[in-house]
């Protein structure tokens, strides 16, 4: 099961301005607090942060809401974060802060049906991520067959994705994160 957190209304509750922009570090820190409370109050393994109707996102706010949240979640067992409703207004800041921290995240961007990886990731991992979205659950052999890679190369890419919490891993099998 996935927990969806709609950021636009959360922003309006957190900051008393008529604007829909996620700007300033203090706004980001306040939002992250609310997000962490929401996550802590539920038992879902995957949290989707929905940026739909959020206007601008600046670097400082992205650092608090996306990068720091990923760092906190990374300390917990088996919790995943995906982003949705991402537009050009958000991409630059998210990419920037993820690169700065060496992080990556799966994101559904506006107008695209399949998620993509934002932030730091190798070309093999990107290819593997895209292929898994298409193939669904499987193992390294299945991915290697689909991409005509060696099993070792496929396994390396899958392990890298799993360590970054971009896919779920269990007993040698892998599956994409649930987005619904």
């Amino acid at each position: 099961m996935m927990q969806r957190i709609d950021l636009a209304p959360l922003l309006r509750e957190t900051v008393a301005t008529p604007y829909s922009d996620m700007v300033t570090r203090s706004t980001g820190a306040a939002l992250r607090d609310r997000i962490e409370q929401t996550i802590a109050g539920a038992s879902h393994r995957t949290t989707q942060l929905d940026f739909t109707s959020v206007g601008l996102l600046d670097f400082s706010c992205a650092d608090e809401v996306v990068a720091k949240l990923l760092l906190r979640v990374a300390a917990e067992d088996e919790h995943y974060v995906v982003l949705s409703g991402i537009t050009d207004s958000h991409l630059d800041a998210i990419d920037h802060v993820l690169e700065r921290h060496g992080l990556s995240v799966a994101a559904l961007t506006e107008g695209e049906a399949a998620p993509r990886v934002l932030g730091v990731v190798t070309p093999d991992a990107v290819t593997a991520f895209q292929t898994i979205q298409r193939l669904g659950a499987g193992d390294a052999n299945r991915l290697a067959d689909a991409l005509t890679w060696t099993v070792e190369r496929a396994a390396d890419a899958l392990q890298s994705l799993a360590l970054r919490r971009l896919i779920q891993a269990a007993g040698g099998t892998y599956r994409p994160l649930s987005l619904s």
């Binding site: 900051v15 008393a16 301005t17 008529p18 604007y19 922009d21 700007v23 300033t24 570090r25 203090s26 706004t27 206007g55 601008l56 996102l57 600046d58 670097f59 400082s60 650092d63 608090e64 990068a67 720091k68 050009d88 207004s89 630059d92 800041a93 920037h96 802060v97 700065r100 921290h101």
Partner: protein, 299 residues
């Protein structure tokens, strides 16, 4: 009372002349800024003058006086750009104020606006998006991505005041036709505060590491070129880094003056020096971000 003549054209280059006129800081006597002969002031010049007034108030010095420009056009323009409204808070204004007119000139994308807290940054970013997007795309040919980045750069520049200055400041945004200097239009963000400055902000954590070279210039280099912040949090220092990344993509320029030094990231179209040190002291920090129209770049 020391009379300091405001240069006829006050901008990032001529602020040094104004600072020279002030002399030692803090000044030992009252100051009268004589702007009667002023013909023009950039947003940088206007916000810097306000910073001087604010710094004197915060230092509990006598309220400085400011004589209003003689030229009807100049004082009308400064009035519509929001300058006198702000200046009345920290100067004793001498001379005939222009009639109140709420309409900012069309090239003023954001009149002189105070920045004291995070809410002010929300307000500034919201206003600039309402007012500026059409102008930035139609007159400066900035792509939608560039106009978004512009608002982000503005947000981060304003946040430097909230996060680091320890006091309030001012922001203004304007477009110009830099026909002689550049041959195209530009949009300029000016942010100025009377706060502690980069050297004092970074001194506790960085001065020993730098050693003898420590000073305003070294502090600016650390902050602007190496993303160093006074906070240990590794996520800090991203604001100026993000601004530089944005400006690199759109051939923009950033220039930061603090204390006695000015550091600029200079694009190919400009002839500014990267680092100027041993300048006359001016209180606080002044940031100017300049983004040129994209049309001429692609030709």
């Amino acid at each position: 009372m020391r009379v300091v003549t405001v240069p006829t054209s006050l901008d990032d280059r001529t602020l040094d002349t104004l600072a020279q006129g002030i002399g030692e800081w803090p000044p030992s006597e009252g100051i009268l800024l004589d702007a009667r002969s002023a013909h023009w002031a950039s947003p940088y010049g206007l916000t810097a003058m306000l910073t001087l007034g604010q710094a004197m108030a915060e230092a509990k010095l006598p309220t400085p006086r400011l004589t209003i420009p003689d030229s009807d056009d100049v004082r009308s323009y400064w009035g519509r750009a929001g300058f006198f409204l702000a200046a009345a808070e920290c100067f004793e204004l001498v001379g005939k104020l222009p009639r109140k007119n709420s309409d900012a000139p069309s090239d003023v994308l954001l009149p002189v606006t105070p920045v004291r807290a995070a809410e002010d940054v929300h307000h500034v970013v919201g206003r600039i998006q309402e007012r500026a997007q059409h102008i930035l795309s139609s007159e400066l040919n900035l792509e939608p991505k560039a106009t978004l980045g512009f608002a982000m750069a503005l947000s981060e520049a304003c946040q430097n005041i909230v996060e680091h200055a320890g006091t309030g400041g001012w922001v203004a945004v304007q477009t110009y036709n830099w026909r002689k200097r550049l041959g195209r239009k530009v949009v300029v963000i000016a942010v100025s505060d009377s706060g502690v400055g980069f050297r004092r902000s970074l001194e506790p954590t960085e001065a020993k590491k730098v050693g003898d070279r420590w000073g305003d210039g070294a502090a600016l280099e650390l902050a602007l070129l190496h993303n160093v912040s006074r906070f240990r949090d590794p996520g800090r220092g991203q604001g100026l880094a993000g601004i530089r990344r944005y400006l690199g993509r759109w051939q923009g320029k950033i220039s930061v003056r603090s204390g006695t030094a000015r550091l600029a990231v200079v694009p190919p179209w400009d002839d500014d020096v990267p680092l100027a040190e041993h300048l006359p002291y001016f209180p606080g920090s002044q940031v100017q971000i300049t983004i040129p129209a994209q049309e001429a770049v692609t030709r």
